[in-house]
């Protein structure tokens, strides 16, 4: 697999994540979209790491995966908070405050 195709795949993943972030209303789906974007970045790191040699790209990807998991754990806890209150977890439910 060439570097260019990896990068293109990562860019497409990033765009899909961005689209999901903007279009989906379920918090869990939005979390998945953010995960997609973060994993697109990991893919870029690993692809360039392979292309350039050395472990740097993979090291970053490993740290990034661990940190993203911690982030999602907090995100799910927040979704739980909303679910317990409304019995549902769509983002529109969190719109009581006015601009």
């Amino acid at each position: 697999m060439s570097l260019a195709s990896c990068l293109l795949l990562a860019a497409a993943l990033f765009c899909v994540g961005l689209y999901g972030l903007l279009a989906r209303r379920q918090i869990v789906a939005i979390l998945l979209s953010i995960e997609l974007m973060a994993n697109a970045a990991n893919l870029v790191f690993v692809a360039f790491g392979h292309y350039r040699g050395g472990a740097l790209g993979q090291v970053f990807a490993v740290f990034s995966i661990a940190l993203t998991v911690a982030e999602v754990a907090v995100g799910l806890a927040l979704a739980m908070l909303l679910y317990r209150r409304h019995g549902d977890s769509r983002v529109e439910l969190a719109s009581e405050m006015k601009r």
Binding site: L7, A10, F14, G17, L21, I27, I30, I34, M37, A38, A40, A41, N42, V44, F45, A47, F48, Y51, R52, L56, G57, V59, F60, F63, S64, L67, A70, E71, V74, G75, A77, L78, A79, L81, L82, R85, V91, A94, S95, E96, M97, R99
Partner: protein, 490 residues
């Protein structure tokens, strides 16, 4: 052993956080944790000050941790600043959480870990440690925002903060991934060395994504949408922490990226570099935040917009980095210091004005406070004057140095816009004082009673001391800031 000495500020806070976490799990009663957290953080600040006095340059082993951790005077300055801000937030929480019935020890543990994250962020010279610090700081802040679990506003604010914050983090690491691809380095110095010689499209896209990601974190307009809701929904000590420590950490990140990774002359030129981008952010941030802040009915929300506006003033100083990195960098550091003590004090005064589950929120809640509780009103006025930039307070010299750096850098229009904005800003700060001293509460309206808390009083005294000291004799602090801003020397 020297390496332990060089790392001591980080180690003190890290060990303190772990111990406090165990204490929280094993002690049946939660009292005293606020004092513990504040002690750890103030000791951390004192230790950072001690290493500063001893001279980090005399600890050659400190360099062996580069580029993962850059243990230099810049990092030490932020260690002191962040520990001070975090310690003040912990003291305020000690009064606030008890008074509003949400006293749980986790809050203090979260403050300690989030401060530790911000300290790592401020010392990091590599994308890996940078991301590690950023996430540690942000996760603590998200959890603190949602701390009042019964409140729908808290959940809403935390959710918006979380979604946009992790979105920003994703953009940031995608940017660093592209920078890594373009240069083969994840450390800022290595990126800078390659960026100086060859400017590839990949590099430009990566740099843009990184700047956008950081702009989210410093809540610069137009990336500020999460800020007012998160700040309003969070318990006020958490708001204080976000406005003070999280913002300072994000500015440390911005300064490191702009000075080290994009510090070459080809990137700092007005025609082909980042200065126009940062200048645009600065103007938008100041103007939009000030205009919206004036229309708020809630004092807490007004202070939230005010903190966005202050990020704009600091960005004026960041723009001036293009001409004189040391002078302009020092002005930003001094600005952050003066902003930290003024904002912590203002939120602290707001906390002081509420008790027994009833918070002072709107302007009406504060009416007549000058007659009923002169001391509370006096403290509030001092911090508001400092935020408005009126001498002899810290805020005046903060703005003075930032605008002076812009003028020295030839950015006259930016300095003038900043000045005009601070005049607009003075309107809504003084409006609070008008309500406190010249209005009386409507007959029969419920009035918030100030709380009696040694913790909050102590935090206000410390902030007031700093505000007055920096306003009366700023020379010593500006010398310290200049030494801290001399990057690369340590």
């Amino acid at each position: 052993m020297n390496i332990a000495l060089a790392l001591s500020p980080l180690l003190v806070v890290a060990l303190g956080a772990l111990l406090l976490m165990l204490a929280e799990a094993f002690s049946p009663r939660q009292g005293g944790l606020a004092l513990g957290a504040a002690t750890v953080l103030f000791v951390g600040a004192a230790v950072a000050g001690g290493v500063w006095m001893y001279g980090i340059e005399r600890l050659p082993e400190a360099a062996s941790l580069a580029p993962w951790l850059l243990l230099d005077r810049f990092g030490l300055f932020f260690d002191m600043l962040l520990c001070l801000g975090g310690g003040l937030a912990a003291l305020l929480a000690g009064g606030y959480l008890v008074e509003h019935g949400i006293e749980r020890g986790e809050f203090y543990v979260l403050i300690l870990f989030a401060t530790l994250g911000a300290m790592i962020l401020a010392s990091s010279g590599d994308a890996v440690t940078l991301f590690l610090g950023l996430e540690t700081m942000s996760l603590g802040a998200y959890a603190m925002t949602a701390f009042r679990r019964a409140s729908p506003r808290a959940a809403e604010g935390a959710l918006k903060y979380f979604l946009l914050g992790s979105f920003a983090a994703a953009i940031l690491i995608y940017g660093f991934a592209l920078l890594y691809g373009a240069t083969g380095h994840t450390d800022l110095a290595g990126i800078g060395a390659t960026a100086a010689t060859a400017r590839t499209p990949l590099l430009v896209v990566g740099a843009v994504l990184v700047i956008v990601g950081v702009a989210f974190k410093v809540s610069a307009v137009p990336f500020h949408a999460w800020t007012p809701d998160a700040y309003e929904g969070a318990p006020t000590p958490a708001t204080t922490f976000m406005a003070v420590a999280v913002k300072a950490g994000a500015f440390a990140l911005l300064l490191r990226v702009l000075l080290i990774a994009l510090g070459d002359a080809s990137w700092t030129s007005w025609a082909a570099g980042w200065p126009p981008v940062v200048a645009t952010l600065a103007v938008l941030t100041m103007t939009v935040a000030n205009l919206i802040a004036g229309r708020q009915e809630s004092v807490k929300r007004m202070l939230a917009y005010s903190s966005i506006a202050h990020a704009g003033y600091a960005l004026v100083g960041v723009t001036a980095l293009m001409r004189d990195p040391t002078q302009a960098g020092a002005s930003v550091l001094f600005y952050l210091l003066s902003y930290t003590v003024s904002t912590a004090g203002a939120f602290g005064a707001l906390i002081l004005c509420g008790s027994h589950g009833r918070e002072a929120v709107s302007y009406e809640d504060l009416s007549g406070l000058g007659r009923r509780h002169p001391a509370a009103a006096l403290a509030f006025s001092l911090f508001l004057l400092s935020l408005a930039g009126i001498p002899p307070t810290a805020g005046f010299f903060g703005k003075w140095f930032v605008f002076k750096a812009a003028i020295d850098g030839g950015l006259y229009w930016l300095a003038i816009l900043g000045f005009v904005n601070s005049v607009i800003g003075a309107y809504y700060y003084l409006r609070v004082m008008v309500y406190m001293y010249m209005r009386e509460p409507a007959a029969g309206a419920p009035v918030a009673l100030p709380m009696r808390s040694g913790y909050v009083t102590a935090a206000l005294l410390v902030s007031a001391l700093f505000v007055l000291a920096l306003g009366l004799v700023p020379t010593r602090a500006i010398e310290v800031a200049v030494r801290a801003a001399t990057l690369g020397a340590g």
